[in-house]
């Protein structure tokens, strides 16, 4: 059997991390989360909606006994906002993990790398288990590791774009150089994207839109689960090397009728 994935003091059986945003209904979300086999779901931190009481609460549909809660700092555009949001998230009392986002640009939602490193240092000092959402830049990944991040989460492509891994070599370079786990976060559009990331040697994949906005979220969630396991198994099994410009027969060359 494959070993558990360790991030900080936490262990996960599944290597898939799934977001809870953008589902047509909470019920569909619940089914998708189950189908995904994930142990850990991300949530956003927002002001309680005081006008609309009717609104059901996300937490009515997520069993904290079943899923570890990973709050994010989505929507934070500077270190101060991100740190403040992280502290409030922890105060809720369900998790001291934080998916740290310090967004640098509204259109691409690419991270502000300097701000990210600074916020990571601050939150690590305060005892958070920090999972920073970063770019595919090796140097930043190394700095985040030095800053005490529990893992690094390089983006495969812009959040919600569904483009998959736009620069697999950079992801592979990060994987080959870091000691902490590498979770590919953002950009996953379909199952094969997850398999590709895991085959590069990623320790896990985090995704949301790819499942939530699929025509059939639960079915896509199952696909992501299998692709994650398939990619991991293929990585461990040791793929064949690529041969260019030529073929290698799989049937014997001897004993052919002539």
């Amino acid at each position: 059997m494959d070993k558990m994935l360790k991030i900080g003091k936490y262990e996960f059986k599944s290597r898939l991390f799934v977001g809870t945003g953008k589902y047509p209904t909470f019920q569909l979300m619940k089914e998708a989360l189950e189908a995904s086999g994930t142990d850990c779901v991300t949530v956003a931190v927002r002001r309680v909606n005081l006008t609309d009481k009717s609104k059901e609460s996300l937490l009515d549909y997520i069993d904290p006994m079943k899923y570890k809660i990973l709050p994010n700092t989505a929507g934070c555009y500077n270190v101060g906002e991100a740190v403040r949001t992280a502290r409030l998230a922890r105060e809720v009392g369900l998790s001291d993990m934080i998916k740290l986002e310090v967004i640098g640009d509204e259109k691409t939602l690419y991270p502000d790398l300097s701000g990210l490193i600074e916020a990571t240092k601050t939150l690590v000092k305060e005892g958070f288990t920090v999972l920073p959402y970063t770019s595919d830049d090796l140097i930043t990944a190394l700095r985040l590791q030095d800053a005490g991040a529990a893992c690094v989460m390089p983006l495969g492509a812009p959040i919600g774009s569904g483009l998959g891994l736009t620069n697999p070599m950079n992801i592979q370079i990060i994987i080959s150089r870091l000691k902490v786990p590498v979770i590919v976060d953002a950009g996953v559009g379909t199952a094969s994207d997850v398999a590709v990331a895991m085959e590069l040697g990623a320790d896990g994949v985090l995704l949301n839109t790819g499942i939530a906005l699929a025509k059939d979220p639960a079915l896509m969630a199952r696909a992501m689960k299998q692709a994650c396991e398939a990619g991991r198994a293929a990585y461990l099994a040791g793929r064949i090397t690529r041969k260019y410009f030529m073929a290698e027969p799989s049937s014997p060359k001897e004993g052919i009728l002539r």
Binding site: G21, Y23, V43, V45, R46, R87, L88, E91, G93, L206
Partner: protein, 66 residues
Amino acid sequence: MKITLNGDARDIKNNSTVKELLDFLKLKSETVAVELNLAILPKNEYDNRCLKEGDKVEIISFVGGG
């Protein structure tokens, strides 16, 4: 008595505690966090911490996100 709650002006009963405010808003303290005048308020203070005129209160919770 006037406070600012999640960014909006709001009238509440004088000297009401944070716990009373949450109850009034039908919010469970286990699923929210409270920030009072930009400082986090520990859950164990909800019962006896009284709000004052002009206090800035933020009550947050978790919503769907990625």
